[in-house]
């Protein structure tokens, strides 16, 4: 899915947690492993379903810690549930196709030329509103093949 190996991901997450004063515990390793192999943003209950040893409240708690450490990113869709994925500096910059029917999410990337003109336009637009833009979020909304 990405060029990153499990080892290099674990090393990065370990550093990030250490820098923020946390341990890379067994539960956190399992969490990262589930997100890594899913390759798309998951809800809390999808994570628990994917690994029965995980407990709902611990997943919520550790996703928050991993987010603060910069290892995972909160992804909001149109649905009721918040989803999480590995942070982009651990994987790579990408966008989401969101199914407005079932809420499922798939990753995709844009040509770098489009990314660049987008970035430039955003800087200009933000400047007008005296916002400082850190990054952007682009989602395609539609219907997935199972929901047609």
């Amino acid at each position: 899915m990405t060029g990153e190996t499990d080892n290099s991901i674990n090393e990065k997450v370990n550093s990030l947690l250490f820098e923020s004063g946390h341990r890379y515990s067994t539960v956190r390793r399992r969490l990262v492993s589930v997100l890594r192999s899913a390759g798309k943003p998951l809800t809390n209950s999808q994570i628990v379903d994917a690994d029965d040893s995980l407990v709902q409240s611990s997943v919520y708690r550790n996703l928050n810690i991993l987010e603060e450490a910069g290892a995972v990113t909160r992804v909001v869709t149109n649905g009721e549930f918040t989803r999480y994925e590995l942070a982009e500096h651990i994987t790579e910059h990408h966008h989401h196709i969101i199914c407005t029917s079932c809420g499922d999410v798939t990753d995709f990337s844009l040509p770098s030329t489009v990314e660049k003109s987008l970035h430039n336009s955003l800087q200009k637009a933000a400047h007008k509103s005296s916002f400082s833009v850190q990054n952007h979020r682009l989602d395609a909304l539609g219907t997935c093949s199972s929901c047609v």
Copy 2:
């Protein structure tokens, strides 16, 4: 804010509600009026604050009905609360700058050239994943001038 008059907005909302078997009641008119004059997406409590005659549960209920009718759109940010705004075909296509600190949202637009190349790239990317894309959502994430 847009070229639309209050009258033309009300006519459109009235049609949309009528087509979906609902009435354009007083509460719904007030709701539309609050969203119209805000010119940016509002949370349920921001709406209630803006018009004391409105009641929390009725606002939730009517926002859902207006959304089903296609008159308003649900806007998800990084914050806890769902926000709503008038649908784009009632106002105009635009994007959001979201303050990751306070959650506030401001509208902005992109040059149509950028919009077009974006649209084309999305179609291509979606095609690969056998998704049918209806529209897109582009948000700039950053810090607003009050939160610096």
